[in-house]
Symmetry: C2
Subunit: 204 residues, 2 copies
Amino acid sequence: MTDITPEEAARHQQKMARRKALQDAKVASKTREKGLLIVNTGPGKGKSTAAFGLMLRALGHGWKVGVVQFIKGTWDTGERRAVERFADLVEWHVMGEGFTWETQDKARDIAAASRAWDKARELMARDDIRLVILDELNIALRYNYLPLEEVVATLAARRPDLHVVVTGRNAKPEMIAAADLVTEAALVKHHFNAGVKAQEGIEY
Amino acid sequence: MTDITPEEAARHQQKMARRKALQDAKVASKTREKGLLIVNTGPGKGKSTAAFGLMLRALGHGWKVGVVQFIKGTWDTGERRAVERFADLVEWHVMGEGFTWETQDKARDIAAASRAWDKARELMARDDIRLVILDELNIALRYNYLPLEEVVATLAARRPDLHVVVTGRNAKPEMIAAADLVTEAALVKHHFNAGVKAQEGIEY
């Protein structure tokens, strides 16, 4: 790119040495380990996708992972097919029956959400599982398909080393209050608005 | 949960049938297929993680994927170990040498960024690869380690069916203008602020 003068190189080195000292002190000040409640919410894309990226990282460390999908139906997705290579480590439960406008049956949606929550509690109680992903749980709570207070209390009472990821837009304030890490995905620009359709490998 | 009256069930069914009609019309109106330029930016967590989740989805469809990491050094991460199970599909290149405050050497950082960009162009030119992830490219651009105009022009001139994901905070306006899908991750709450340290399986 551009040539760097010796003075500039030295200034950069000094600045970065100071930054490293600050960074090291910051890292040293964090000492606790803790199973996290992670919430991925907001109207943007990538909430479930980030959860599955975290799953991949955990799988790389040989962790067992449990996944419960609260809304998505049984259709085939790339992520589900990909985890077939981790059949020894992943338990994946599709408990939803599709979007509310697909089922058009409120009682059936509520029953599906209850079964999904039972499965979630079962996975969280298993001490061989270190990460549980509750995909679109926020949606089920938004529609009042599950008792919010009980769900949040159960998540808060998880064992100290269990990490749980909850996804879905419109996370309830009570869920955010209970969480350790909350990321809100904002949509800046979307290709659907330019007439591009949902494509294999990207949207599913 | 709560009992549903027949009237309520019927109202719900009608509302959802209308919503499904709208949804179907919306889906039908999107007809184009297009290789997307996806940008994950913002100060929140999950930008690279979402990119690796998208990679997992693509791998499930049997796609070949190329990854170039512009900043991260050669340290071991869960995601890198996990993709060993996809050695037939993933080409993963760690081209960075660590954070700027680790190397403390601007000329070396620029040289590493240039090599990474060469590798990125090489992967994008390969027609067996359908998804290329340029992890932390935004950081290299932020520091002016690469020529912004050339990088954006090359990305914009990608072949029509190639998907590219660019991650890193502080995406340049020119990058956002060229993108099809931009998500900004906002940090709502972070466990580091509660003294919890970076943990295996979560941060790396």
